[in-house]
Symmetry: C2
Subunit: 271 residues, 2 copies
């Protein structure tokens, strides 16, 4: 295989296997090239990935060594993307009764979700995350996109038990905004004891849902090593019960009368 062909094949292979250690002999054999040529190829790939702001190759030396593609989304690209998303969130027709915002169209757009996944994966790149946890329903595509890049499984906490989940652990908690008792369940076999998990959700007000998830995860002795929410908004009646989290967007104000929304960058960019 020629260098030009190898580069296409390797680029594709590396993008498809984020965070997986690939040994140089694997590439050597697969593409029928000397290790020295493969090394040169990898240098070119690394340089271009960094130039394009999509990540870097990490080299692990030694007999068990190789190369790993670490997807990273540059800060510059992230900010540009979130600024644009804020503008879209400020479209007045998003305002729903009660001052809620319609966001399902954005959460269903694969291009948007892919980029959000990259931003969160970058934010949590050093956290040794083993599982992404989210709660049904709207956060699932986002959680899946993050998991896809970190190359770890997604675990979905449900509001209602289902027969196809097997035996479950459930907790009751008080939702911050509605003050109602709610239930969350997680399949017992979905998460091993003591795993490092990252919670991803689409929206946070007082943070009751996330506190609920933390309690549920405590039953599995999980370490919550990161919390990421796409958008946060302040709750007028309730103080925030979570302090360590990343938000990408902050809904500053929703003025129903004036039909005006103010969305700004979240704490991930400002703190």
């Amino acid at each position: 295989m020629k260098r030009s062909e190898r580069l296409v094949a390797m680029t594709n292979f590396l993008l498809e296997h984020p965070r997986v250690l690939i040994s140089l002999p694997y590439f050597s054999e697969e593409y029928g090239a000397a290790k020295s040529s493969i090394s040169e190829d990898l240098d070119i790939v690394d340089e271009m990935f960094q130039y394009q702001g999509i990540g870097k190759l990490e080299t692990v030396a030694g007999a068990a060594g190789g190369v790993k593609y670490i997807p990273l989304y540059s800060r510059e690209n992230s900010i540009r993307f979130i600024d644009e998303l804020c503008k879209r969130l400020e479209e007045p027709e998003r305002i729903l009764p009660g001052g809620y915002l319609y966001m399902s169209d954005l959460l269903g757009d694969p291009d948007i979700i892919r980029n959000l996944g990259k931003i969160f994966a970058t934010a949590f790149a050093d956290k040794r995350i083993e599982y992404i946890v989210t709660v049904a329903t709207k956060g699932i595509p986002l959680a899946y996109a993050v998991a896809n890049i970190l190359n770890v499984p997604v675990i979905i906490v449900r509001r209602d038990p289902k027969v196809t989940e097997g035996s479950t652990v459930s907790i009751n908690y008080v939702s911050g905004s509605s003050r109602k008792i709610q239930t969350m369940v997680l399949s017992k076999r979905s998460l091993p004891e003591g795993a490092n998990v990252c919670i991803i959700d689409d929206f946070m007000k007082a943070g009751g849902t996330i506190t609920g998830m933390q309690s549920l995860l405590k039953e599995f002795n999980a370490n919550v090593v990161g919390i990421g929410v796409l958008a946060e908004a302040e709750d007028e009646e309730e103080e925030r019960v979570i302090d360590e989290y990343y938000s990408l967007i902050k809904i500053q104000d929703v003025d129903i009368k004036e039909q005006r929304i103010e969305a700004v960058k979240g704490n991930y960019f400002t703190e």
Copy 2:
């Protein structure tokens, strides 16, 4: 930019923009190369994509022309992948009370979901799909993966209305297996009138849920141009109410007493 660098950059760009028409002048400008060089680059990329079984480049001639990456997963790769997945489904510890199978671990594995997405995207490549529709909860990652490759939005039908969905259309239907009346809701603004949609779900027995989705989609005058389910199983009490669909896996038999499961390739591979 050198050819070797361009090839890495273009491969990444094309993989990130499936089914999007990219004009040659765009690449020319972006990478500072003559159109003739870009054409040669694209030939190499196309050849390697086909060699790796991940798709092809489609060239559109003329002034408004350019090139489009069409992701396709080769039949050979698909069959190998599904055969392995069937083996995993046959692990006896998956059997749940009532003869159900635990599948959440597979549906949460990003590698598996990515490949399943590719297979469905290939199956429906010619269908001019504008939206992927699924029902909460377990089918969402799969639907998102298909949407990601077809580059169209995902729409999630819910079992319960939520304030953040705005006004909704809801229908009641009788579930095939449990014979209970169930509800499905879809946000009114999520789907424009007369769109071409593809239904994706994780599991089908008699097909009641999918019939329900079809009725709901009729309220939006949508054309259901494809139906894809990961796994199907026969319902002993109920005849199948859907006939045109693709399944990737067929659960042939679950023997609770003998703790034996038989999973085989679905109709997409056998018909």
